[in-house]
Amino acid sequence: MASGVKPRVKAPKTAAAGETVTIKTLISHKMESGQRKDGDGNPIPRSIINRFTCDFNGQNVIDVTLEAAISTNPYFQFDAVIPDAGDMVFTWYDDDGSVYDTTKSIAIG
């Protein structure tokens, strides 16, 4: 499942040094649970994103392990401390080995 996967992240462009900011992420992915059956009664194989990480300047903010019970288009909201200006890297790991990532720059201001 590598088609139509689009990560979206909402993060502030600027923050005060040491400020805690709220980050919202969404990635379009069907998150096939492996429980469903197709029209002929055959089970549809599991295909989900199994891990999501967020790092800021190489330091970890959150590392999430996803199971099949996470909804389609996985959404996460969490808080991060911004010690200084830098890049926030978001990475999603697919069951099929694909890795999707996106980066947001946050300035001090």
Binding site: T20, V21, T22, S33, Q35, R36, K37, D55, F56, Q59, N60, V61, I62, D63, V64, T65, L66, E67, A68, A69, I70, S71, T72, P74, Y75, F76, Q77, F78, D79, A80, V81, I82, P83
Partner: protein
């Protein structure tokens, strides 16, 4: 239709299996929690699980967990085919130990959040969610 001895035995066995299976599903959640805690005692308090009382659609149920001072928060759904839902590991730059997401629930059940604190102790909170339409397909 007459029941032979063999039919009766098979029927009895079927009923026994049907009664045991729901208990097994709950046991799966307990086992998953025990695997996470390593059998340690699980306390209460210090963790908040926010989930709706009634979810119309089990395919997308918003939940939020918060446990100040936690290193890891794991969420379980006791009535799902697989009890594990999500594991949050908080890193050095986490603003606070809270997160929210959307989960699937197969039916009305208890959602349980277990937090592993920085000192190695465990606390848990649970919330019952009524689900009108299950979210596991069929």
């Amino acid at each position: 239709m007459e029941f032979s001895r063999r039919d009766t035995l098979a029927l009895g066995l079927g009923v026994a299996v049907a009664t045991v299976i729901p208990f097994r599903a709950f046991a799966a959640a307990d086992e998953a929690i025990a695997a996470f805690t390593g059998g340690a005692d699980v306390g209460a308090g210090g963790i908040t699980l926010t989930a709706p009382e009634i979810a119309e659609n089990g395919n997308t149920v918003p939940i939020a967990v918060s446990a100040p001072g936690a290193a890891t928060i794991m969420v379980f759904a006791s009535g799902n085919p697989t009890p594990g839902v999500v594991t949050f590991n908080f890193g050095a730059l986490a603003g606070d130990q809270s997160a929210s997401t959307r989960i699937r629930l197969a039916g009305t059940q208890d959602v349980i959040a277990v937090a592993k604190m920085a000192d190695g102790s465990f606390v848990q909170a649970s919330s019952t969610v009524k689900v009108t339409i299950g979210g596991c397909g069929g």
